[in-house]
């Protein structure tokens, strides 16, 4: 919190109090795990690509696939169209593979996982135990007080540490494992679907990811199965100067359903770190996937030093008729965000939804949005985006809605609201709309508002301090997106909103 450092500590206030205040008002997940690591040499080249493939004990076809991607990447240029500014990234000055030494021998069960790693996830609030998650008391008025199971795949730097509830999921026919395991155990599925939604040459970062991804999660839900619990992956970057490149592949076969959550955090460091993920989702006939993200990578300090550069390609392909996908994202972290979860509405009557909250404070820059590509007849999409800017941050919504000639009678509704806190930040809206048939309809609404002083005074007159008041008003602003999140997640997201806006007023 900037204010704290600039203020002379008043006499009579002890250092402990000052530290305690500083502690709660900074990034909560900024600590690091002291653990022995093994690194591939710095930089990226065909040898590093082969080494990663080797470490994962991959079959040859996979190694070839990666090498082809690398070859392609060397001919590509970093995109510059987004409204973000950052120093040139030296792609040869970082590590592409970092694994805790204790993971050299892959643990056969969760009991064998290094206690230090288990403790790390415990501390992050994601215990890797097969237990119920109990609903909290917050909002107890309208929530059943029953336990809920969430299966977790925990990714630490370049490797998956373990996956919970695998057995129970297997009984239901659901495959949930790390992608490295899937490449070995289910090559037929991986071969069929990997790169089928985000082609290897899709964009600079996706191509790099295809060459060097080290791990990630894999989900397959067979026909007619409703996944018996929520699935989630928790990404933790710990190692310094190391990029995280993970790959997620989710396949919902005919008539199936799955809800998937993704969380991310990283230690507080003053050098920036790269994160470039690819998520591919395939949704067959009558199937439905919900994908929620709470992105809380280290955003950099209040002077804009450090933080994660987050370049992510996420895309869902609604292949089957009547298939449905819903992206929900709460983006509070990262120094730079470049992310556009998209929906290809290929099947007739398929539906895509995108709900987003993007908060940028201090020097954060977010350029995020979605693409809705309507190919099938009678397809529907809905976009609700809430951008909040504070400090000196810049927040851009960039969206594309495209109605192809065959997408007869399709509909899109876009609502895109920006909220400014203070007067040094910015909000931008860049909608692209293409309609190539005459029976489809696109509706677009956009608003920009400032946090209203009268609202803040009203809250404060009732006893809330300024930050609590801002958080309350902002949560109100985000309500329609928060409602789209699973209940417990919504509460976590609300707290996150409050934390990431601390120090943004006054």
């Amino acid at each position: 919190m900037a204010a704290l450092d600039q203020t002379q500590v008043k006499e009579g206030v002890d250092q402990e109090t000052v530290d305690a205040v500083r502690e709660v008002s900074t990034y909560k997940y900024g600590w690091e795990t002291d653990i022995e690591m093994e690194y591939a040499p710095k930089g990226v080249n065909p040898d590093i690509v082969k080494l990663i493939s080797e470490k994962n004990e991959e079959p040859e076809w996979m190694t070839e696939w990666r090498l082809a991607a690398f070859e392609r990447w060397t001919q590509m240029e970093e995109p510059k169209w987004a409204m973000v500014n950052y120093p040139e990234i030296d792609f040869q000055d970082q590590y592409y593979y970092a694994r805790p030494k204790s993971m050299e021998e892959k643990p056969k069960s969760l009991d064998e996982v290094d206690p230090k790693l288990l403790a790390t996830y415990e501390k992050l609030g994601i215990p890797l135990k097969e237990q119920m998650i109990l609903a909290g008391v917050e909002g107890a008025e309208n929530m059943p007080a029953e336990g809920r199971k969430v299966a977790v795949d925990a990714v630490f730097d370049s490797v998956s540490v373990g996956t919970t509830f695998q057995d129970e999921l297997k009984k239901a026919g659901v495959i949930f494992c790390s992608i490295s395991e899937a490449i070995k155990e289910h090559p037929e599925l991986v071969k069929k679907y990997l790169g089928s939604v985000v082609p290897v040459s899709d964009n600079f970062y996706a191509t790099l990811n295809s060459a060097v991804f080290s791990d990630g999660s894999f989900v397959y839900v067979p026909p007619g199965v409703r996944c018996p619990m929520e699935l989630s992956t928790y990404f933790r970057i710990n190692a310094e100067n190391t990029g995280q490149f993970e790959r997620t592949l989710i396949i919902a076969d005919k008539g199936s359903y799955v809800s998937y959550l993704e969380g991310c955090t990283a230690p507080q460091r003053d050098t920036a770190q790269l994160h470039a993920a690819v998520v591919e989702i395939i949704i067959e006939e009558d199937a439905e996937v919900k994908y929620s993200t709470v992105q809380n990578w280290f955003p950099g300090d209040e002077n804009g030093k450090g933080g994660i550069y987050n370049f992510v390609t996420k895309r869902a392909d609604c292949r089957g008729d009547r298939s449905k996908v819903m992206w929900t994202q709460v983006e509070t972290g990262s120094a730079v965000t470049w992310k556009y979860p998209s929906c290809i509405l290929r099947g007739d009557d398929s539906q895509g939804e995108f709900y987003s909250i993007a908060i940028a404070n201090n020097y954060q820059q977010a350029d995020t949005g979605t693409k809705m590509v309507h190919l099938g007849k009678n397809t529907k999409s809905r976009i609700v985006s809430k951008g909040i800017s504070a400090g000196k941050a810049q927040n851009t919504y960039r969206g594309l809605v495209s109605m192809h000639p065959k997408a007869k009678d399709s509909r899109n509704y876009t609502q895109c609201d920006s909220l400014l806190i203070g007067d040094k930040c910015g909000a931008h809206t860049v909608p692209y709309i293409e309609v190539r048939n005459n029976s489809s309809r696109v509706e677009h609404e956009a608003t920009t508002s400032k946090v209203d002083d009268d609202q803040l005074f009203y809250c404060r007159q009732r006893g809330m301090d300024e930050e609590e008041a801002v958080a309350l008003v902002v949560n109100g602003f985000c309500k329609d997106v928060l409602q789209a999140l699973p209940m417990e997640f919504a509460m976590e997201a609300q707290q996150l909103v409050a934390i990431s806006l601390e120090g943004s007023v006054g």
């Binding site: 008025e141 009268d454 007159q461 008003v473 109100g476 985000c478």
Partner: protein, 251 residues
């Protein structure tokens, strides 16, 4: 309890003095009413006491139980016991009335070093207080004041007051916009809170409200000053003759 001495206030942005030396003392257990022509500075006084931005105190003092109010942040004044029922209650889209109340109650408890109310205790308390003000469950769920009728907004202010149990209640034209029945409900709500430890400052234009909430003292404010104080009969005089006589008399 509330002591205001020679309070001078001007707008922060321009050289316009609005309060020109207000003197007023409200004792614990008493109800003081303030009447006065439009634009005389009644709302301004209530805002300055509760700490709204945009005003500058150029002279004078305001204390609550000896503590300097003017030095405190708005939320500190709230925790110390100042409550303002707004002339124009503010709408907060997306924030449930219940959530708002709970956040406020717990924020004040925390500031006073008390434990937060449990969800169950809170719920019980709100339901009870809401019932006596005829505020239904639907209104508790709806976003704060959004789409509320004028009268509903005012009843909602009284609900907040009842939940927060402040020491010093300032009501700014809480009676305007109320129908006869709502006026009774609101007055009953206020009267239920009257006790030896609590003071009230009731700003109103009408004798009607004072029929229900019997004031101990009535003040007349004009052009940024209290120009006359008296018993309940003063309100009747205003009702019957307007302000002309009183103003002529003090000039």
């Amino acid at each position: 309890m509330l002591e205001i001495k020679n309070l001078h206030v001007k707008l922060e942005e321009e050289e316009k003095e609005i309060l020109k030396g207000v003197d007023l003392t409200v004792e614990a257990g008493k109800v003081h009413a303030i009447m006065g022509p439009n634009g005389s500075g009644k709302s301004t006084l209530s805002y300055v006491l509760s700490g709204r931005d945009g005003y500058e105190v150029t002279d004078g003092a305001a204390t609550l139980d000896g503590e300097d109010l003017l030095e405190m942040e708005p939320e500190e004044r709230a925790a110390a016991g100042i409550f303002l029922a707004f002339q124009y209650p503010v709408e907060i889209p997306g924030v449930g009335n219940m959530t708002f109340l709970r956040t406020a109650v717990n924020a004040q408890r925390k500031a006073r070093g008390q434990e937060e109310l449990s969800a169950a205790d809170f719920l019980k308390l709100v339901r009870e207080k809401a019932k006596s003000l005829k505020i239904d469950a639907d209104m508790l769920k709806r976003p704060v004041n959004v789409g509320f009728s004028g009268g509903e907004k005012k009843r909602n202010e009284i609900l907040q007051m009842a939940m927060l149990e402040p020491k010093m209640c300032i009501l700014d034209e809480t009676d305007s916009g109320l129908d006869v029945d709502a006026m009774k409900l609101v007055s009953e709500g206020v009267n239920a809170l009257r006790d030896a430890g609590r003071g009230f400052l009731v700003i109103t234009h009408y004798q009607r409200l004072l029929d229900h909430i019997k004031p101990d003292v009535v003040h007349i404010m004009a052009d940024g000053r209290i120009v006359k104080s008296g018993g309940p009969e003063l309100a009747l005089e205003v009702e019957n003759n307007g302000y002309a006589d009183i103003l002529a008399e003090v000039n």
